[in-house]
């Protein structure tokens, strides 16, 4: 610090001279005047330089703020905080973590976009991604990347709460995105988009490796692992406006989310059959997806868990009951 101050060595010398003059005895008027002029000259110079340094420094600060604002648009909010709040190099060492991973895209968008002009396409994508990203931020997801119209998000890193909370926030985010998409369809139709656009989403929970991947020139903060592939495959398997969640994700959210009975899917890259649950909606307070009639006196004991039994089987039970009644 002391060494750094030596950029002011000339100014310090001037002060020392002035101070020694005051301490000295019987200084001649002429010497005093000469030193006073020197001091005044240096003071003027210092004031001028201070003014310039202050202006330059303020400009640099404004420039830095502008850069930070722009940077915030290119990296996730969480990573931005890590970069700007931590001292030293931001090293994110790869580590294993249980995450909930989300993928979405627009069904048949490749076909739709082939009819669009480049300008209209970029205008549409920015419009769509902006709205969806606001929902990601609202639910605290880490926005991993955009891939054209596709969005990849994960929950559980850098900020960790609990596996249940990550899964529930992710599913809630997906439901809100789907609702928003319905609003957008009308708006887009009014804007002149002929084909109604539909999203499809896939969510999976499991252990991933999270960290910085890339080269020394360019690093990407992202995740790799089976749940990433699974979420992506579930998304591809979903029909329009559908949200498919993996069985593990379902395990975390089943008390708070209503799902259709699971389907067994054959997904590319997975040897075993995968259980996928289609998300219907969030449960209301106190709501259960179970029909329970328990009246021993009348000899009725009925429990139907609608999240487990396929619709066709319920219909078959109803048919059997109808036959019995006749």
């Amino acid at each position: 610090m002391q060494k750094e101050n030596s950029i002011f060595s000339k100014e310090e010398d001037t002060l020392k001279t002035a101070e020694s003059l005051l301490k000295g005895e019987a200084v001649g008027k002429e010497t005093l005047l000469k030193e006073y002029k020197g001091l005044l000259k240096n003071y003027k110079k210092l004031l001028r330089q201070t003014k310039t340094v202050t202006r330059v420094s303020d400009n640099q600060q404004r420039k830095l703020n502008r850069i930070l604002e722009r940077l915030g648009r290119y990296v996730s909010f969480q990573l931005f905080k890590k970069i700007t709040h931590e001292k030293g190099n931001v090293e994110i060492k790869p580590q294993r973590k249980k995450l909930t991973v989300f993928f979405s895209d627009l069904k048949d968008f490749t076909y739709t976009s082939s009819h669009m002009e480049g300008e209209a396409l970029s205008e549409f994508l920015n419009f769509y991604l902006e709205i969806m990203t606001q929902i990601v931020i609202k639910w605290g997801g880490t926005l991993d990347k955009y891939m054209g119209d596709a969005i990849m998000v994960f929950f559980g890193d850098p900020e960790f709460t609990s596996d249940e909370d990550h899964a529930l926030r992710c599913v809630s985010m997906a439901i809100e995105m789907r609702e928003k998409m319905k609003d957008l369809q009308k708006k887009l139709y009014d804007l002149g988009y002929q084909e109604p656009l539909h999203c499809r989403m896939g969510i999976a929970t499991g252990y991933c490796t999270v960290g910085n991947f890339g080269s020394s020139e360019r690093m990407d903060y992202t995740i790799v692992g089976t749940p990433v592939n699974l979420a992506s495959r579930l998304e591809t398997a979903a029909e329009k406006d559908e949200i498919f969640i993996s069985h593990e994700t379902w395990g975390y959210v089943k008390d708070k989310v209503i799902c259709d009975p699971p389907k067994e899917l054959h997904l590319k890259g997975f040897h075993q059959k995968i259980l996928a649950h289609k998300v219907v909606r969030l449960k209301k307070e106190g709501e259960d997806n179970v029909l329970l009639i328990d009246d021993e006196e009348k000899g009725v004991n009925l429990k139907i868990d609608f999240s487990k039994i396929p619709k066709e089987e319920i219909e078959s039970i109803i048919r059997r009951l109808e036959v019995e009644l006749k």
Binding site: I7, Q49, T52, Q60
Partner: protein, 130 residues
């Protein structure tokens, strides 16, 4: 007297003071760990050079992308030394080189320009490197 060449690093600019061509160049970024230590040989060379120089035209090219506050203080001292020499009769032209569209660099140049009275100061716009 020898020319002074200091290669650029991640934190310090390239110094190329040519006493035969009478061109003095400072180019790059300037936020050294110890500003006064880095610029000490620069000032020593400049003072010796100005003492020995005659009627020649001297061209100083300053092309700085980024500099911290202590560097801006030192660079002002550097410009003051040149300005004083110019007021004593030395023929010094200072070119403040900035990239096209780099409004900040232009503004910094204008700030430095305001403080100089005797040096011929030019703001020189340069096409961006491809």
């Amino acid at each position: 007297m020898n020319s002074l060449i200091i290669e650029a690093t991640k934190y310090t600019p390239e110094i190329s003071f040519d006493c035969e061509q009478h061109t003095l160049g400072i180019k790059g970024k300037s936020y050294p760990e110890n500003t006064s230590v880095f610029y000490q040989p620069v000032f020593e060379w400049l003072e010796e050079y100005l003492e020995n120089i005659g009627e020649q035209n001297i061209t100083v090219n300053m092309e700085l992308i980024y500099f911290n506050s202590s560097s801006s203080k030192v660079l002002m001292d550097f410009c003051d030394v040149l300005d004083e020499a110019a007021s004593d009769g030395k023929r010094i032209t200072l070119n403040w080189i900035y990239e096209e569209d780099d409004e900040d660099a232009l503004e910094f140049g204008e700030e430095f320009q305001e403080d100089l009275e005797s040096v011929t100061f030019n703001l020189v716009e340069k096409a961006p490197e491809r």
